[in-house]
């Protein structure tokens, strides 16, 4: 056996040392074997350890080291070659593994270290997140409070409730000791304590608005911490013992309300603010936190909005109430006006009738008288009576006209008439009256005045008569002159008539009439009043006979004739001049001599003979039927009568020239007319249908025309009237008497 190159055994005498080495080696081996076991056990338990194979490596290394040391135990004695080989193998392996491990550790340890760093980092992050969570939670809570507050504030539109609720809710949310609202006064120079939380009825403390602390608060839209000793914060009597709590003030913008007029609100200038002051409880050590300040700011804004909404609502409610009131008043006024108009129309209608009746008696009797034997003088007198009463009848018509003039429903007639003879007639009418008063009357009608003109003769005559009549009426002595001539364009640009700009043309000319009197004159100040209807000149109280309507009517007529009328007077006692210009048409040369047919043929000279004229009279009233029949028979007609619409339809034939029907009885007459039309629709020469009625309403005339009647005459009908009517009917085939 060859001895190995192992370490020579030591002196066997040192048995103790050897024993200790022996034991130590054993324990080392034991440790070396148990450590990996422990490692393996714990690695198996933990799932996260990322470096398993490092452990394996490590374990291997330790095991081998252990094995080495264990095998070392045998090398202390004489050992065989196998043991030596085993030992060598173990040592080699151990060497390999340990080197590998050593190399490996270089890579691994930094990794392990960084793990630790990351862990630290994550912990920090977690802490930070925690903090932030805390913040968010607080904010969310604040937001919730604000929402709730806003909801409370916005749930009402009453200003007091809004403000009170704000203070209450703020007080509750922030656990305030006191909360107060200062509003600017009407003058804008002071702030007045308007609402507080704790005190029920705040006494009207006021504070000047230009304090530095207030300016500071107003100048920023943040909640500002202010000193508890400043005037706005000193709301309670200072008890002195405690430490007052921190105070914050914020401005509440009062939105610009210049478009509204809110009466019980303080007047607002361009941009004004109210001041809200909040006080923390005085014995706590609380301080204002940022989120609380933010809450206060948000609330202040919300309050401003809510207040403006309330203001707008108040205003619109008020405006609506006003409108309703106005509507009611307008309605009432309208109804009153309608009643008044109706009353006036009724009055006019009745008066019209009442006035006409005696007029008819006078006219009729005078015309009868005319037909009897009279001396020339008597005849003249009777003619004057007749003319005057005709004029009066016309005046009555014109009272009716005036009401229609006012309505604007009057239309002038346009017919050709003799201008010169019109003036002559005016003179003839006025001369007697003037001579009675010993006034001299002169007239000058220009030679270039056309003989004939187109216009409303009746109304022109009325105007001239009125003017001349006034001149006579108001003159005690002297003379009256009437001049008439064609107005030249140059004379139009008259300072006295600034608004009148007539345009002359080929078919028209302007007639200018001037009436001068030397009578009592008129005060120039009274001249504008002259044309006011029903107003009489105060200085002429001795003449109550006039109704005051005359000049008003004249002016209306003149205006309708596109003209102008004016009065000049130099004063009381100096006479006066009335001038008017009217527009008249110039008739064509061709129809210059074609005078209009005057339906009222006066006197007995009507030579028209109606002998044998076949007429049909329809009237359901026996008496008036008989009268009308008698009337027509007297004129020579051949009369058939019918007492009802049916009978009339049965009897009517083409032989009848005219059918007179009474339409006083409602609509029967109209229907009858329609039926007659239907009956003779294909025939050229159907009978003329004429309505007889006592009804003077315009609508009657319109209805008659609508159903196709050929004529309308008003009852009562005199013999002469009927004669004229028949003549005209037969000539013109149509006759509508003006109602």
């Amino acid at each position: 056996m060859e001895s190995c190159n192992c370490i020579d055994p030591q002196v066997p005498a040192d048995d103790l040392l050897m024993k200790y080495q022996y034991i130590s080696d054993f324990f080392i081996a034991l440790a070396y074997f148990s450590i990996p076991l422990e490692l393996i056990y714990f690695v198996k338990k933990s799932a996260v350890f990322p470096y398993r194979w490092v452990l394996v490596q490590f374990g291997a290394f330790i095991v081998l080291c252990g094995a080495t040391h264990l095998i070392n135990l045998w090398t202390f004695r004489i050992h065989s070659r196998t043991v030596a080989v085993v030992m060598t193998t173990a040592k080699v392996l151990t060497a390999v593994v340990s080197c590998a491990t050593a190399l490996m550790l270089v890579h691994i340890i930094p990794d392990l270290l960084s793990v630790k760093t990351r862990e630290l980092f994550l912990k920090n992050k977690a802490a930070e997140l925690d903090r932030e969570m805390g913040l968010i939670r607080t904010q969310e809570e604040t937001g919730r409070h604000v929402r709730m507050l806003t909801h409370e504030i916005r749930s009402t539109l009453d200003r007091h409730t809004i403000l009170k609720t704000t203070l209450v809710e703020l007080g509750r949310t922030l656990a305030l000791e006191e909360c107060a609202l200062w509003m600017p006064t009407r003058t804008g120079l002071e702030l007045q304590l308007s609402y507080t939380l704790r005190q029920q009825n705040p006494v009207g403390y006021t504070v000047p608005i230009h304090l530095p602390v207030i300016n500071q608060v107003f100048s920023s839209n943040r909640a500002v911490k202010i000193s508890p000793n400043c005037p706005v914060a000193r709301l309670r009597p200072y008890a002195g013992k405690y430490m007052p709590g921190a105070v914050v003030a914020v401005r509440v913008p009062l939105l610009h309300l210049s478009n509204f007029q809110i009466y019980d609100w303080p007047e607002v200038s361009t941009r004004s603010y109210a001041l809200m002051v909040l006080m923390l409880p005085s014995d706590s050590a609380r301080q204002w936190h940022v989120h609380e300040l933010e809450l206060v700011e948000v609330v202040a804004d919300q309050v401003a909005v809510a207040l403006s909404h309330a203001a707008i609502l108040e205003e619109s409610m008020r405006a609506r109430d006003q409108l309703i009131e106005q509507n009611v008043a307008l309605d009432l006024a309208r109804r009153e006006a309608e009643t008044a108009i109706r009353a006036r129309n009724d009055f006019l209608a009745v008066m019209n009738h009442e006035m006409r009746t005696p007029m008819h008696a006078v006219i009729a009797l005078s015309s009868l008288l005319q037909e009897t034997d009279l001396t020339a003088e008597q005849r003249l007198m009777v003619e004057t009576i007749l003319k005057s009463s005709n004029l009066l009848a016309t005046l009555i018509n014109d009272v009716l006209d005036l009401s229609r003039l006012e309505d604007g429903s009057l239309q002038l007639e346009a017919a050709t008439f003799n201008l010169h003879s019109l003036f002559r007639e005016v003179l003839n009418l006025i001369k007697p009256v003037a001579s009675v008063k010993k006034l001299s009357l002169t007239s000058h009608v220009a030679s270039d005045l056309p003989m004939y003109a187109i216009g409303d003769e009746k109304r022109l005559m009325q105007t001239i008569l009125n003017v001349v009549g006034n001149a006579v009426k108001f003159s005690k002595e002297g003379c009256i002159s009437i001049t008439a001539f064609v107005a030249k364009p140059e004379s139009f640009r008259d300072a006295r008539i600034p608004d009148f700009l007539p345009v002359p043309s080929d078919n028209h000319f302007y007639l200018r009439v001037q009436v001068k009197d030397s009578g009592s004159g008129i005060n120039p100040q009274d001249i504008p009043k002259l044309f006011t209807k029903f107003a009489q000149n105060q200085s002429l109280t001795r003449n109550p006979a006039g109704s005051g309507l005359g000049l008003a009517i004249c002016r209306r007529f003149v205006n309708l004739m596109e003209g102008h009328i004016w009065v000049e007077s130099e004063g009381i006692g100096k006479g006066c001049t009335v001038t008017f210009i009217v527009k008249l048409g110039i008739p064509d040369r061709s129809n210059e001599f074609k005078l209009p047919f005057v339906p009222k043929v006066p006197g007995n000279h009507g030579s028209t003979n109606f002998a044998g004229l076949k007429v049909l009279v329809m009237d359901d009233n026996g008496v008036s039927r008989t009268v009308t029949k008698g009337l027509l028979m007297h004129l020579g007609c051949d009369v058939t009568t019918a007492s009802s619409s049916e009978e009339c339809l049965r009897v009517v034939s083409l032989e009848h020239e005219v059918v007179f029907m009474d339409v006083c009885t409602g609509l029967d007459g109209y229907e009858l007319a329609v039926r007659i039309h239907e009956k003779f629709t294909k025939h050229q020469d159907r009978p003329l249908i004429v309505a007889l009625t006592g009804n003077t309403k315009k609508v009657t005339k319109e209805n008659c025309m609508r159903v196709g009647m050929d004529g309308l005459i008003l009852k009562p009908v005199s013999v002469d009237k009927m004669r004229g009517v028949l003549s005209e009917l037969l000539e013109r085939r149509v006759l509508f008497e003006s109602v």
């Binding site: 009746t357 008819h360 008696a361 006219i363 009729a364 009797l365 009868l368 359901d620 009233n621 026996g622 008496v623 008036s624 008989t626 009268v627 009308t628 008698g630 009337l631 028979m633 007297h634 009474d662 006083c664 009885t665 006592g694 009852k715 009562p716 009908v717 005199s718 013999v719």
Partner: protein, 150 residues
């Protein structure tokens, strides 16, 4: 001869008074105008017709107003007829009352209607007696050989 002149003058005065007091109006004149040789009794005929018509209508009116429930429409129709008749012969006063009668009918005013009816009857009896007197006088004149001028 004097007697006739006297009678004629009386007639003229009486007629004038009737007009003056408003019993008659111009329409009556018209009627008188229509009387001529071909129609000598025109006026008397018409007036008699009127009396008959009026009697009938007044009866109807009295009956209608005596009903427990008054038919104002019918009432109005009758009054309208009477109004037309009276205006045709020129009985002015009756005509006037008829106008106001129509108003009370429209208003359905029973009190007013009764009053108006009373008035119409009164006026009618007056005018009837006056016209009868007139005609009697005319007859007297004609019988005495005079003529009645119109």
């Amino acid at each position: 001869m004097d007697g006739i002149v006297q009678l004629e003058r009386q007639l003229v005065d009486y007629t004038a008074s009737l007009f003056h007091e408003g019993f008659l109006d111009d329409q009556f004149n018209q009627l008188q105008q229509l009387q001529d040789e071909s129609n000598p009794d025109f006026v008397v005929e018409v007036v008699t017709l009127f009396f008959e018509d009026a009697d009938r209508l007044l009866n109807e009116l009295t009956k209608a107003l005596g009903q427990p429930s008054i038919d104002f429409k019918r009432l109005d129709a009758h009054v309208h007829q009477l109004k037309g008749s009276s205006s045709s012969i020129g009985a002015q006063r009756i005509h006037r009352v008829c106008i106001s009668f129509r108003n009370t009918c429209e208003e359905q005013n029973v009190e007013g209607c009764l009053k108006n009816l009373q008035q119409v009857k009164h006026e009618y009896s007056l005018v009837k007696s006056k016209l009868e007197t007139l005609f009697r006088m005319e007859q007297q004149i004609l019988a005495a050989g005079g003529s009645v001028s119109r």
